[in-house]
């Protein structure tokens, strides 16, 4: 009945039906098109230009910046440092987040909203403020070293601040909520009946987690890894303030390239490469997920 009416209805109404829903995207498009996609395109165009010591950026159409970035040992070390640190942070944050997420999803009943709020809380505080907090904690005469020295665990203070270690600690702390929240969401969605079914069929409590909880939380693990990896890879503040100048990271290097070295085209090429790394990783995780968790699409 409705089918027949719709078919015989005015043609104009059908056209409206077709594209009307897309209007919902209009506000976002108005903001994103001029302020995100356009600059991104300009950035890409700049990366094909040539830097000149005197004339600064010279219009050109060359892949020289990319070739240099992907062959010069200086830049290759930059990439391996950054990707390595981002991977380490992503994996460590996920490992720390997992038991915590499992606990709040399964056992935090009355305290749930408080604990979730505590997870979100750091996101409300400026990262600069948190970095200064870590400086106080990690300094040679800081809280951590003070405690370890007084307890007699250390004889000389650990050098953490302005070293890779301090930067990694700060990064893990900064991105931990991004690992916890998707994991919490994935674990919370596993119905109680599945835990019971698994143990009814003979699985020990450890078996239930291994066979049911962990596989079903893999989509959450993947999202957390992706978010933390992308964040750590492009982080500027933490390497700049907590990190070491001997362990160079990509984002501060781009900044130095563009401001100190006046190599805007090279900086643009590095920025495009960073984006490509992130896209490749996100795509790789999605492909792996489809391959090893084919059920996840239909859940």
């Amino acid at each position: 009945m409705t089918q027949a009416v719709r078919r015989s209805g005015p043609v104009a109404a059908m056209r409206w039906d077709g594209w009307l829903p897309w209007l919902w995207l209009l506000p976002a498009t108005i903001v994103l098109a001029p302020f995100f996609f356009m600059p991104l395109l300009l950035l890409f165009r700049n990366s094909l230009n040539r830097d000149d010591a005197v004339a600064l950026m010279v219009p050109d159409f060359t892949a020289a910046n990319y070739i240099k970035a992907l062959t010069d040992p200086f830049y290759l070390e930059l990439f391996s440092n950054t990707i390595g640190a981002a991977l380490l942070v992503a994996i460590t944050a996920t490992v720390i987040a997992y038991p915590f997420a499992f606990f709040i999803a399964r056992y935090a009943r009355r305290s749930l909203s408080l604990v979730i709020w505590a997870v979100y809380m750091p996101l409300f505080v400026s990262v600069i403020v948190r970095v200064f907090g870590w400086m106080i904690m990690l300094a040679d005469s800081g809280l951590l070293n003070n405690l370890l020295l007084r307890a007699g665990i250390l004889a000389t203070p650990l050098r953490l601040l302005f070293e890779v270690d301090g930067m990694l600690i700060g990064m893990i702390h900064r991105y931990l909520p991004l690992a916890i929240l998707p994991l919490f969401n994935a674990i919370q969605k596993i119905p109680d009946e599945l835990y019971r079914a698994s143990s009814n069929l003979g699985a020990t409590p450890v078996g239930v987690i291994r066979d049911v909880v962990f596989p079903l939380s893999i989509p959450g693990v993947a999202i957390g890894l992706q978010l933390v990896f992308a964040g750590a890879l492009s982080d500027f503040v933490l390497p700049q303030i907590l990190g070491s100048s001997r362990f160079r990271m990509l984002a501060p290097a781009i900044y130095t390239e563009a401001t100190t070295n006046m190599s805007v085209a090279m900086a643009a090429a590095l920025a495009v490469l960073m984006l490509v790394f992130i896209i490749i990783t996100l795509a790789a995780v999605s492909v792996l997920l489809r391959r090893f968790a084919p059920w996840a699409r239909s859940v």
Binding site: P191, E193, L194, R196, A197, S198, S199, N200, L201, G202, A203, T204, G207, D211, V212, P215, L216, A293, P294, W295, A296, S298, V299
Partner: protein, 362 residues
């Protein structure tokens, strides 16, 4: 291994409270080998808690549970050898049908040789073995859930409202098929349901539960025809409650005046003349007649609503402010009651259940 009359399951005085709520109150139940028993009751009557106590998902506050002669009261669920079919089936979404079926035997270290095919054959799901649960219909999921529970060769099968998620036609089809299968395999089964029809069509005996207690246990005929309590009477079928005063008594029978012209006779000795009594009559025991009957001699009642239900007609009849529900056979050659008809009620003496019988716990 067991003597023929051995009890597969023996529950003795089991109680369980949650905070201040007594979910199960000193329940005792013995289930024979190969028997199918239903725990029938309204939601909140404790039937699911009792099932969870048997499966080990909850531990009782007191009492003991024995399965196959072994005390399992505090044994953790994974060592109990019960097979549970959950209300929403609880299939593992990340495993195919075959992986779901073989999961139990695998974690228990049992042989899985030919098991998937055997279980699939029993439940006619051979074509579905490589599918994921999300690709199955409700009926297919239920079949997989039963196959998975049977694959561990459980000592007892537990069905928790296992049919409630299915459409009516499919539900009845599955009930018949499963009933035949369970009897063929001779597997001891406990079925939790709130659906009287389901309990009656599947089980050998029915335990009617109310307020955490088993009110009566017996065959479908017994609990329906000889209800042990006013709750059991009211819970099964559709029934009328009427009260009246004793107008005559003679040995074992008592005559009760329900309304002007309507005097019911019931089997209840020892009532004082003029005392009030409450009786119950099932809707299908209330027949409608055009002429005065032995119990309804004058002052006809008025049909206020008559609903055609296919096999029967359900009529609501008004008599002195009392509404009486009657369900009569709707054969093609019988004139059916319609609203506004004047009718006389006919109720057999054996159909009148005395509901308040002080001193004698019925």
């Amino acid at each position: 291994m067991h003597a023929p009359a051995a009890n597969a399951l023996k529950i003795d005085g089991v109680s369980k409270s949650f905070n201040d709520v007594h979910a199960v109150k000193s329940c005792s139940l013995e289930v024979r080998q190969g028997e199918i028993i239903s725990l029938l009751g309204a939601s909140g009557c404790g039937k699911t808690t009792l099932l969870n106590l048997i499966a080990g998902f909850e531990l009782p506050d007191s009492g003991t549970i024995q399965l196959g002669g072994r005390d399992i009261t505090v044994v953790p669920p994974h060592q109990r050898r019960t097979g549970m079919v959950f209300q929403h089936y609880a299939l593992f979404p990340h495993m195919t049908v075959q992986e779901n079926i073989l999961y139990g035997p695998k974690v228990q270290g049992a042989s899985i040789e030919g098991l998937a095919a055997e279980m699939a054959g029993l439940l006619k799901i051979e074509a579905l073995l490589q599918r994921y649960p999300s690709q199955l219909s409700g009926g297919q999921r239920q079949r997989v859930a039963v196959a998975r529970a049977l694959a561990v060769k459980p000592e007892i099968l537990l069905l928790d409202e296992a049919f409630s998620a299915l459409d009516r036609n499919l539900r009845e089809e599955m009930q018949i098929e499963l009933s035949l299968l369970l009897r063929r395999l001779g597997i001891t089964t406990i079925l939790v349901t709130h659906d009287q029809r389901e309990a009656f069509s599947l089980s050998d005996r029915i335990a009617v539960m109310d307020g955490g207690q088993i009110g009566q246990i017996g065959s479908a005929k017994e609990v329906y025809r000889q209800p042990a309590s006013s709750f059991v009477f009211g819970f099964l079928g559709s029934s009328n409650r009427m009260s009246g005063s004793v107008v005559a008594r003679n040995n074992a029978v008592t005559d009760l005046r329900i309304a002007e012209g309507l005097i019911l006779r019931c089997n209840a000795p020892g009532r004082a003349l003029g005392s009030e009594m409450c009786v119950g009559v099932r809707a299908e025991s209330v027949q409608l007649a055009r002429q005065p009957t032995a119990v309804h001699r004058s002052h006809p009642a008025t049909v206020s609503l008559a609903t055609f239900l296919g096999q029967t007609v359900r009529s609501v009849v008004q008599i002195e402010g009392l509404s009486v529900v009657s369900e009569t056979i709707a054969a093609a050659d019988i004139e059916l009651p319609v609203a506004g008809d004047l009718v006389f009620l006919d109720i057999a003496e054996t159909a009148v259940h005395v509901l308040d019988n002080p001193g004698v716990p019925l």
